[in-house]
């Protein structure tokens, strides 16, 4: 939108400059004599028409520099083009300054007037009737907001949603307020008339503001040619549709890449579905069809978060996957789901793994079966030459219960000076606080 306005301004300005240029050169066809302009003699015999004018001006212009050396000619061209470009840039800059000042003014005025009222509605502990909401907001039927004001109001509401955690009745009240103020209608309008970027942002805003739009708005966008918009619409469709919410979930005929951002968004959508008690599909068929390792890893973890026990049984076969990162995700998912039945499989596979995977297995064993693994942790400590793996094994041992603590101290007594630091490291409460806070998993 902004770019188009800028472009049209540039075009209009270029047109004005061209007209000015033609006008100036047209005057040069006359000869000044005192106060009188006398037409040049050839003008009585030669009639110029159509493209002749442009050709004439071109020759007139190039003629001015014909006698100069080529380097000087080019220098003149650079000077003139730079001057024109500078004028255009100045115009665009000043226009932007003006627009921004107006936006800021409108935003300030609306925030001053409505933000405390929004807060009052958001803090109400019960669902308020419409007339009470109108009263709080100080609105009547004639209240109407311009495009700029609507955009500012949405910004203010987004700010409020970041600062204030809304309860169920507050969400209902805020929805009513947005409807009363015409913001829902405005967003619906932008969903239809806006450009791709704007529609994508509207979808994000309605997700934050808990606005419920009819499915029909999304069905038109779930196959949109713009990839980003299509992804956003399909994700929202999962929440909004009740009949077949995962209709487009498995459809990736366009072979669109699945970037980490998509993982964050998809995970959040699934968590919303989970809290809405919406049945999630099995991800196992999706994993089998996908080629990329990253996406496989993601769905392995999602299965651990949201999948049922039947899905988890299927997941265990990924513990033998040839790709290390997929195997690592499968081990992590065992920890996420706390699958005690995987204990023996993990212990069996331990000695065939890389050090990184060994550390992951030790951490997972600590999560799923700490008490029965203390001997295993002690053995893992003795068996490896990697200081990092030793450190993880000792940490798991120390935290695996009374038996583990006794073993830990026995090992500590036998440890040489080079290894003693590892024991002190895992015992230190400040380093342990860091690990407990999730800052470090395998340290």
């Amino acid at each position: 939108m902004k770019f188009n306005k800028t472009l049209s301004t540039v075009l209009v300005l270029s047109l004005v400059l061209l007209i000015l240029f033609l006008f100036l050169f047209r005057n040069h066809q006359m000869v000044q004599s005192g106060d009188i302009l006398i037409p040049r003699a050839w003008e009585n015999y030669i009639l110029l028409g159509g493209g002749d004018y442009l050709r004439h001006y071109f020759y007139a212009l190039t003629g001015l520099y014909r006698e100069l050396p080529w380097a000087v000619r080019i220098s003149y061209i650079i000077i003139q083009l730079s001057c024109v470009a500078m004028l255009l840039l100045l115009y665009i800059l000043l226009w932007d300054v003006h627009k921004r000042r107006q936006d800021a003014r409108v935003y300030r005025a609306l925030k001053e007037k409505y933000y405390p009222r929004f807060q009052e509605v958001a803090q109400a502990e019960e669902v308020l009737p419409e007339n009470r909401l109108q009263e709080i907001m100080g609105m009547d039927k004639d209240t109407h907001f311009s495009y700029r004001e609507n955009m500012a109001l949405i910004d203010i509401l987004l700010e409020l949603h970041v600062e204030v955690e809304l309860g169920p009745s507050a969400i209902t009240n805020m929805q009513s307020v947005m409807y009363l103020m015409g913001l829902v209608r405005f967003m619906e309008d932008r969903m239809v008339k806006g450009k791709e970027k704007e529609i994508e942002n509207v979808i994000e805003a309605i997700r934050i503001l808990h606005i419920e739009l009819p499915d029909s708005f999304m069905t038109g966008l779930v196959n949109h040619r713009d990839v980003q918009l299509r992804k956003a619409a399909r994700l929202y469709y999962i929440i909004s549709n009740m009949e077949d919410p995962f209709l487009y979930f498995e459809d990736n005929r366009q072979k669109v890449s699945f970037v980490p951002w998509d993982m964050l968004e998809t995970h959040q959508i699934f968590s919303i579905c989970y809290s809405m008690q919406k049945q999630l599909p099995s991800f196992i068929p999706v994993m089998d069809r996908l080629d990329g390792h990253e996406i496989k890893e993601f769905f392995i973890k999602e299965t651990a978060y949201w999948g049922n026990s039947r899905d988890m049984e299927h997941l265990l076969r990924f513990l033998q996957h040839p790709e290390l990162s997929v195997r690592k995700a499968a081990i992590e998912s065992v920890a996420i789901r706390r699958m005690e039945e995987a204990e023996s499989t993990l212990k069996e596979m331990y000695y065939m793994q890389t050090e990184e995977l060994k550390r992951e297995i030790l951490h997972t064993l600590y999560v799923v079966a700490p008490r029965s693994s203390d001997e295993f942790f002690a053995h893992a400590y003795r068996d490896t030459s990697s200081m990092l793996t030793k450190r993880v094994a000792l940490r798991c041992l120390l935290k695996s219960g009374d038996g583990g603590v006794t073993l830990f101290h026995t090992l500590k007594e036998k440890a040489g000076p080079a290894e003693l630091i590892l024991f002190q490291h895992v015992e230190d409460r400040l380093i342990d606080r860091e690990v407990s806070a999730g800052i470090s998993v395998v340290n």
Partner: protein, 476 residues
């Protein structure tokens, strides 16, 4: 013969200048493409909400080496700790400071020595000890104390040995990070595949009002030396790097602020302690590693100011800095000469390095010889002063256009300064830069080249910092 040589040189220099102008036009166009790509972005509140709640949010370690930074260390560590990002740690590497840097950290953050089992994955000067804070609000802070390694690279490597997250930010402890610095750099990392480094724009903090380690009001410096550098920084980040970023041909991610994939940095051998341009050297080795192992990669520049740094305030300090940069540039080119023009190294080998060789490394030399020729011809009466003026004006007006373009860029994307008045100072610097600042920078670069070629012993010069509370101190 003399006339022929001078004539040839004159034409060659003019064609060189024209090519330089055209390359800048191309970079402006590419930068515009990058800026437009950045305009397509998520609502900020939506993105923050997502990052703060997700278990897939990547963790980031901030690594900041400190050597004799007692004046600014406390405020800057506060600034680093106040990042608005859910998962990060701050690692300060005390590189054998001779002043009270470590003591000030211990006093202000209630640090105690912890028995940390340090694993030296990258080789550095000996590690001494690790400190952690007893206060829960500083749980993210780690202070690594080590023997002085003489260069920033050695200290960063020590920080990387202690880091736990898959990404890290390499910054200087005298830098003030914007509160959303990590957030801004993580977004492209999440939105595109195979990113190995993200560079954030930097600006000078010399004119800014700083409170509790945060920039509360941003103004450009009014003193001439930092003001010219502000313009230079803007040109480098918003046109140079933004332009190269559009075609994945970034030559450098500044050592002042950049986010990197830790695994790739480690695999490429970490920072090189013998390099005087360790940031450029590191990126070249990262890209070379990716090309050699056929690993897809992307290096991106974002247009937002993530980091405010205190630039040299006097000519003496500026001279030392630029001599070192000049030395680092020629050293990096010599070290990586096999990459230049080598198609195996894709854009880096075929576009960026040849371009930098012709237009950055040799530019000071050509400019210097040009000045000598002009003086010689001026004395011998061989100059058409009218024509010379026109040619000078062509270069000058283009320089002004370039500066106006980047001012317009910076303002429209909501860049460094909020008020348009602030940009008038930058414009003033643009008008006067070619007469005063630029010739000096050319001279300093040439001294750097000469130092390297004559094998003079390299010294990391002293940098006088005023500190944000305006106290004077001397640091290296």
């Amino acid at each position: 013969m003399k006339e022929f040589i001078l004539n040839f040189y004159g034409h060659a220099v003019f064609i060189y200048s024209l090519a330089l102008i055209l390359s800048y036009v191309a970079l402006m166009w590419l930068a515009e493409i990058s800026i437009l790509r950045n305009k397509r972005r998520n609502l900020e509140s939506y993105a923050r909400n997502l990052l703060h709640k997700s278990s897939f949010t990547p963790g980031v370690s901030i690594v900041a080496p400190a050597y004799n930074e007692e004046t600014t260390i406390v405020e800057n560590v506060h600034s680093l700790l106040s990042q608005d990002y859910p998962l990060f740690e701050v690692i300060i590497v005390n590189d054998g400071s001779k002043d009270r840097t470590l003591e000030r950290l211990i006093e202000n953050f209630d640090l105690v020595e912890v028995p940390y089992a340090y694993v030296p994955q990258l080789k550095t000067k000996p590690y001494r000890r690790m400190f952690k804070s007893t206060r829960p609000e500083f749980a993210r802070l780690k202070v690594v104390d080590k023997v002085n390694g003489g260069t920033k690279a050695d200290a960063v490597n020590a920080g990387l040995n202690a880091a736990v997250f898959p990404y890290f930010i390499n910054t200087d402890v005298d830098c003030i990070l914007a509160k959303d610095a990590i957030f801004r750099c993580v977004l492209p990392l999440l939105k595109q595949e195979n990113i190995i480094a993200v560079s954030g724009a930097m600006a000078l903090s010399n004119g800014c009002k700083v409170e509790k380690g945060q920039i509360v009001e941003a103004y450009p410096p009014h003193a001439p030396v930092p003001l010219f550098q502000t313009l230079e920084y803007m040109r480098s980040f918003l046109i140079g790097k933004m332009g190269w970023s559009a075609i994945n041909a970034m030559p450098n991610v500044s050592g002042g602020y950049g986010l990197f994939n830790r695994e790739v940095v480690m695999a490429a051998g970490g920072y090189s302690p013998d390099s005087f341009a360790e940031d450029m050297d590191m990126l070249i080795r990262m890209v070379a590693y990716c090309c050699e192992t056929k690993r897809p990669y992307r290096v991106v520049q974002i247009p937002y100011t993530c980091c405010w740094t205190e630039g040299p305030a006097t000519l003496k300090v500026l001279s030392r800095q630029r001599v070192r940069w000049g030395r680092g540039l020629i050293q990096t080119f010599y070290k990586h000469r096999r990459l230049i023009g080598n198609p195996r190294y894709r854009q880096l080998g075929m576009v960026t390095l040849p371009y930098l060789l012709v237009f950055e490394l040799t530019a000071p030399l050509i400019e210097f010889l040009g000045m000598l020729t002009l003086i010689f011809l001026g004395i011998t009466g061989g100059v058409n002063w009218g024509y010379a003026l026109v040619m000078f004006l062509a270069i000058y007006t283009f320089c002004i256009l370039l500066s106006l373009f980047l001012i317009s860029f910076d303002y429209t994307i909501g860049g460094s300064y909020k008020k348009i008045k602030s940009y008038l100072w930058i414009f003033l610097a643009a008008l006067t830069e070619p007469f005063f600042y630029h010739p000096m920078v050319v001279f300093f670069s040439l001294r750097g080249y000469l130092n390297y070629l004559t094998g003079q012993k390299a010294v990391w010069g002293e940098m006088t910092r005023k500190g944000f509370s305006k106290k004077e101190s001397t640091t290296k």
